[in-house]
Amino acid sequence: MKIRAVMIDLSGTVHVGDTLLPGVMNAITKLKERKVPLKYVTNTSKESRRSLLNRLTSAGLKVDKEDIFTSLSAAKTHVMQNKLRPLLLLEKEALEDFDGVLTEDPNSVVVGLSPSQFHYGRLTEAFNLLKSGANLVAINKSRYYKREDGLAIGTGAFVSALEYAADTEAHVVGKPSVHFFHLALKDLDPSLMAAETLMVGDDVRDDVLGAQQAGLQGALVKTGKYQDGDEKRFGDPNYVFDNLEEVADFVINQQ
């Protein structure tokens, strides 16, 4: 089916840390010139949307708040809808996206990417809450991501640690949750069909195969955390490209 719209992962696909990846500016310019609807869909949970926006703008990307759909905001919606009072394992920079959430007398644990919280004492505290019945919400279950200095162990590892310790299963809000992809799609354009939307990312399982499970088309890019052979290891991505610029050219050429 012809691709009418594009959802793009951020970390590892558009940028690594404070730097835009090669060809990204060209890719976005081309897609916008041809008026291809696009939405950045990110599991990034280490900072608020505002902070992320600043980082991307400083790196040279033209982007507005409405262009970004984050698992952090989907998690807040989940917490409010279910009237949860969370113990938040989040970095300071991400807390502002949870403004208004009640945290006194917690009955749940919400886990995002928070290296400063992923230490023995804090994890034991979270574990004890879970053991006495609190539920576990994972903003994402990413195995690892690409940091400026190399691979870095992800949120998913610490979610797994808590799941194992407390014999419980996390409710995963972000990618690769099918519900999350559908929420993102609706946020992009409620009239869009999943099958005419392409999800692009560097994580073959969480970005690409996850999107395909939700009925979207999936494109793996060989940047960021991509490792040689990822496209053969876990399932079949619809497309594999070297980078985002190749994706943009492909989408434009089939219009």
């Binding site: 023995y120 994890l123 004890n128 195995r143 162990i153 590892a157 797994s160 310790a165």
Partner: protein, 266 residues
């Protein structure tokens, strides 16, 4: 009257923390009432005992000294901590470890070459379980294809009355991130229990394992063909009695109750 099912008991594999003593951060802990006397009575009756522990925060020598300060009198070589099982394994496979373990247990590993590590060993490192230390371990396994060894895989234990995380969750973290299964040296690994049987010189049917951890102690022993007895001390919580996967062969209030039962059958 409660009974121990199966053949007469000739030997015991005994957990330490939660069975013989309760743990505390700032002291040697406290001997559980009746345990010291219970061990002495078993010995007098000719029942063989080995202590299979997942203790990895101190060396075997220090653990032995600690137990003696509490009033126990077992010989040092009757204690089988996971570090020794891991060292055996690493020697067999020519493995050179990167250690993320408690600083107080490091010297047990002095006999091994640690240059250019090709394996990662995770122990009960407590406050050394920081994000960066776990990241280093993860990178070694993911990028250098290092073997991953876990000293036991317990989920939690009780210390100063509170539940606190054991090594297992941190092993689960690295396993998940690196897509690799750890080799577990220690409970609940069957090879560890078998080493215990070898040490006792007895067959599985003649032995019972007694512990406070429904999964690592009882479940692990049962998978090795050994009867598993759960005590209601240590990390035990009442939900353990309805565990979805593990049904203990027997549940007793404490170690002394088990000793009473065993001796009443002689």
């Amino acid at each position: 009257m409660t009974e121990i099912p199966g053949d007469p008991v000739k030997g015991i594999l005994c957990d330490i923390t939660g069975v013989l003593k309760e743990s505390a951060i700032a002291s040697d802990g406290v001997a559980i009432q009746g345990s010291i006397e219970g061990l002495a009575r078993l010995e007098a009756a000719g029942i063989k005992i080995k202590f299979v522990t997942n203790e990895s925060q101190i060396t075997r020598k220090e653990l032995h000294a600690k137990l003696h300060r509490l009033g126990f009198s077992m010989p040092e070589d009757s204690i089988m901590p996971p570090a020794f099982a891991a060292i055996e394994f690493m020697k067999q496979k020519n493995l050179r470890p990167h250690l993320l373990v408690h600083p107080n247990v490091l010297s047990d590993f002095d006999c091994l070459d640690k240059e250019k590590p090709n394996c990662v060993v995770l122990g009960d490192a407590v406050d050394l379980f920081t994000y960066e230390n776990l990241n280093t371990a993860f990178r070694l396994v993911k990028e250098q294809n290092c073997e991953l060894i876990s000293l036991g895989k317990g989920k939690y234990y009780r210390e100063d009355g509170n539940l606190t995380l054991d090594v297992g969750p941190f092993t689960a973290a690295v396993e998940f991130a690196a897509d690799k299964q750890a080799v577990v040296c220690g409970k609940p690994d069957a090879a560890f229990f078998q080493a215990g049987l070898n040490s006792l010189g007895l067959e599985a049917k003649d032995v019972v394992m007694v512990g406070d951890d429904i999964v690592s102690d009882v479940g692990g022993a049962q998978k090795a063909g050994i009867r598993g007895v759960l005590v209601r001390t240590g990390k035990y919580t009442s939900t353990d009695e309805n565990h979805p996967a593990v049904k203990p062969d027997l549940i007793v209030d404490n170690f002394k109750s088990l000793v009473d039962l065993i001796l009443s059958k002689l």
